[in-house]
Amino acid sequence: MKSKVLSVLADRVLELGPNPPVMAGLNHWRYGKDEDGVGWLLLDRKGSSANTLNAEVIGELDTMLGKIENDRPTGLVIRSAKKSGFIAGADIAEFVGASDAAAVEANIGRAHAVMNRLEALSIPTLAVIHGFCLGGGLEVALACKRRIAISGASFGFPEVMLGLHPGLGGTVRTPRLINPITAMTMMLTEKSLDARKAKAAGLVDAVTEERHIKNAVKAVVSGELKVSPPGTLVTVLNSGFARPLLARYMRSQTRAKADPAQYPAPFALIDLWEKHGGDSKEAALKAELKSFANLMVTKTAQNLVRVFFLRDRLKKIAGEKQNIEHIHVIGAGAMGGDIAAWCARQRIAATVADMKPEPIGGAIKRAADLYRKILKKGTDQRDALDRLVPDLAGDGVKSADIVIEAVPEKLEIKHKVYASVEPQMKEGAILATNTSSIPLEQLRDGLKKPERLVGLHFFNPVSRMMTVEVVSHDKADQSVLATARSFVGMIDRLPVPVKSEPGFLVNRALTPYMIEAMVMVDEGIAKETIDKAAEKFGMPMGPIELADQVGLDICLDVADMLKKSLPREQPDAPQWLRDMVAKKDLGKKTGKGFYTWKDGKADKAHSAPEPTPEMTDRLILPLLDVCVGALREGIVEDSDVLDGAMIFGTGFAPFRGGPIHYAKDRGVDEIVSTLKTLESKYGKRFTPDPGWDKIKRA
């Protein structure tokens, strides 16, 4: 709820002690003593709404610690002066392009020394934590003697997402403070703990509310807050006897999810703990430092850092937030209903209209199930459901800022919908279509204001697929496109501006990948083997499973449309696929497609033969080839946007850094010659795109 009263009082919410001003010569830290002589060290990183750690911030911390050692406060509070949270982790910009492990080790080694200096202070030290406390932030907190969490705080180590493990002492301090199994799970899975769970795990000493921080600080400094040291369980599980056993188990668990060759970090982390869990802290910290530096220069880590910045790049495309309070979705089917549900979850009122109540009922059920999964609090689930408004009369059109059309892919139906909707829309409202196969130039025909039409192409499942293609057309208005991009950002998705060309980007790139899989099925290759060929490359799911997930009817629609409208050689969709669609064996949504689906999972045979490397190339190289063509045709702005779109829209192996990045890394000449070999063996569909030359030169 928006509260005017609370917004007036907003600057009174955070307890910042004496709230000292910035000192001369410093940019990020503020320090002062309160009436009890307790020092408050506030991190307020300059020019940023969230705190992150970089060399300068840590350097200043070192300076501040020197001052504090002289100033002799009775205790020290470290907290963030930002509303957004404590510290969101390291400033990843510093990781970009690292190639010399020794240099990384030297740099991070200096930060280690600062953490050790903080840990060595002889006074009570206390981290007061609200909001995000991640990675390096949590490691700063761990170098304090006590930690107090404010309800709503969350604690985690997301380093594995970047192909790293914690590098500021986290791998050493965490398993020695709390149950090492919990500690390792946190670091291996990047799953965060909320304040309550962090307290239960012993990661923090107390959980309270912002309004009691002053008293909490007094209790810590006076010693009134009694905290028992880590128990015998921690000692036993860290013993030389337990570590190898537990490490073996962790390795097998991790291997089920990640290939050590592709993702070395979690395995390095397990090695560290197994080998150095019993060492002196000093030795263990050294080992961490070395391992961290080695990981930092791996291709995987550098590519994942690249992915982080690709996300940032797409986020920036969203631009400033605009005033979008209400969206109206027409069509409560799988896409429409889920788009509305996602918007409602992101605090935008969403009315959802359909001709009949039953599809809306289905949409409400899917939304309720989703909210139950992703929203912890019952009241949050209720509020999200309250914002998702069934609208059989279609009254929402009149007040909506954006009307999203998600009706069946038939031009006449869409035109009919537009004819009834457009006159009702309010001034300045945007009409968006979720079409995946109809050119916007055809859709805008007949609109009174064609400039208000834009494509917003979401992917299934909406709640997991980050990419949304923002499709322009010849009469599109720049400000409409900007608002559409902003809206995508506001609902925490990543906008990818694309030209209105057949299949846009993502579907155009995925179609040859899936069609090739069908051809391989025709050749008698087991579907599990085909899927494995793609998974081995690093795709989150193989093309056959993906087709089932997307829906075979939609795949067929898109494939037929692309075959008709693109000059590219494309095999006919097999007749048996058409038969399956006719029989309504559409994949996951009907419970049966290529696979039988149970509880949202494909039932796969375990004994399929191993795929050959050629199989992987047959699937992946055409995908790369189409991406090169899309770039040549200017469907997307540049190769970074393309790489980001494919990673966040299809799950394209993130550690490969994106299709174009991977192609360059593997070598354009090598790929072109492999394509030519495949061409001579399988036909023209493997003919390399003329755009490869340009990629090579770039």
């Binding site: 809306i360 009922g361 059989l392």
Partner: protein
């Protein structure tokens, strides 16, 4: 005095309580029919001045359901909201109170409703159990606690059915059904007459559903499990006098006349109407549907609470210098068939007219063709806090359909009261 208009209104389908709590709490119901209603208005939800909601059985999670509903409907932090409780009159009292706020110039736009989920009526621990818990809580030592533990008796586990207690008058210790038996006796209503009335109520509602008369009034309710509720599901179109005759009396066996078939049903449902001043009508270019002319509340002995409508309706007509003939359409809440028929008989009773109502003779006659034309609480159920709101809403909608001008909605109220509201189509 400023005129007060009814702009619009909507309700949920009325859902018969089956086993255990239904899919919606009272506020869930109010939100279900409130969201689309607010959505179709040309003004914003924040433009209201006040929200008033009738609700009798407030559940523990939703204290002051009016405010909870206002916030869940996105009406903003600054929306004053309160809940009304006058038993079966609550949903009409909310309209009446809103009417007064607008009439005297305090407010311009008020959302007035009723919400009730009788399926949520609690099972309550009996007194013995509550005392036992209390002693357990107070026991200072372990021994005292153990000693108390052994005072536990099986009888303490006999729950008190909250709804049953709620439907029993605390002054005269009569269940509402029993008060209908009393009225039936005083006005000679037979079992067959009551069953005939009940069967007709069912058929009228069935017809209204079939003809789509309620389509503009009901907003489908969507449950979290994907189920969609689109109609009043207590309806029994196959009910006949013969099938109803087979039912045994429920309140006074074996010779009573009031059965489950000729009583209103235990039901969940919510209803809202939007009231506006002339200023609000102009400001937002609204199209008023009806105007509230007057309202009246009367009271009498709780054991004959069913006659309440006769007192308040005639008092209201007297003040307006009108007679019963001037009223085109009636909604008289069907708590019990015998009670409705008792009211009709009382209107026609010379002695009652002279000595109770202070009229020169009998008050008059209500033609069945002008009364509860689309069924009532016997066929669709009686969510107590909601019914008073629904009958005003439906009276307006029915008059619109039938091209009539003036109507009265009235109900009997447990505890010995009656409420009536006179509206005129604009």
């Amino acid at each position: 005095m400023r005129p007060v208009f009814i702009i619009d209104g909507s309700r949920t389908p009325f859902l018969k309580a089956r086993t255990g709590p239904g899919p919606f709490t009272p506020v869930d119901l109010a939100v279900q029919c409130g969201r689309p209603l607010l959505l179709r208005q040309p003004f914003k939800p924040q433009d209201f001045d006040r929200v008033i909601l009738g609700c009798v059985n407030v559940i523990a999670d939703e204290m002051n359901p009016a405010r909870v509903a206002a916030l869940r409907l996105g009406m903003g932090e600054a929306m004053p909201a309160f809940t009304m409780q006058i038993n079966c009159g609550s949903g009409m009292q909310s309209i009446d109170t809103a009417y007064r706020y607008i009439q005297n110039g305090t407010d311009n736009l008020v959302l007035a409703g009723g919400a009730e989920a009788l399926s949520y009526a609690p099972l309550v621990y009996n007194k013995g159990a509550v005392n036992w818990f209390g002693r357990m809580f107070m026991a200072k030592s372990l021994w005292a606690r153990i000693a108390n533990f052994f005072t536990l008796r099986p009888s303490m586990f006999a729950p008190v059915i909250g709804l049953e207690r709620g439907l029993t008058d605390p002054i005269v210790e009569l269940n509402m059904g029993q008060t209908a038996e009393v009225v039936a006796k005083l006005f000679n209503i037979t079992r067959r007459q009551a069953d005939e009335y009940a069967a007709e109520s069912q058929q009228r509602l069935a017809k209204a559903q079939k003809e789509g008369y309620l389509n503009d009034e009901i907003i489908p309710a969507f449950a979290k499990d994907g189920k969609v509720y689109t109609y009043d599901d207590g309806v029994r179109p196959d009910s006949t006098v013969e099938t109803l005759a087979k039912l045994r009396p429920v309140f006074e066996r074996p010779w009573g006349k009031v059965t489950a078939g000729n009583s209103s049903q235990i039901t969940d449902g919510a209803s809202w109407v939007i009231l506006a001043s002339e200023d609000a009508v102009k400001k937002h270019s609204l199209k008023p549907k009806a105007k509230i002319i007057d309202s009246e509340w009367s009271a009498l002995d709780p054991s004959i609470m069913g006659l309440g409508p006769v007192l308040c309706s005639t008092a209201l007509l007297k003040r307006q210098n009108m007679s019963m003939k001037d009223v085109d359409l009636w909604e008289l809440n069907e708590a019990f068939a015998a009670q409705v028929l008792g009211c009709l008989a009382a209107f026609e009773d010379e002695k009652f007219g002279k000595e109770v109502l202070g009229l020169p003779g009998a008050a008059g006659k209500i033609d069945r063709a002008r009364l509860n034309v689309d069924g009532g609480a016997i066929s669709m159920g009686h969510p107590v806090g909601t019914s008073g709101n629904r009958i005003v809403l439906h009276l307006m909608n029915a008059m619109k359909r039938l091209g009539l001008k003036r109507g009265i909605a009235t109900e009997c109220i447990g505890g010995g009261q009656g409420g009536a509201m006179l509206i005129e189509m604009v």
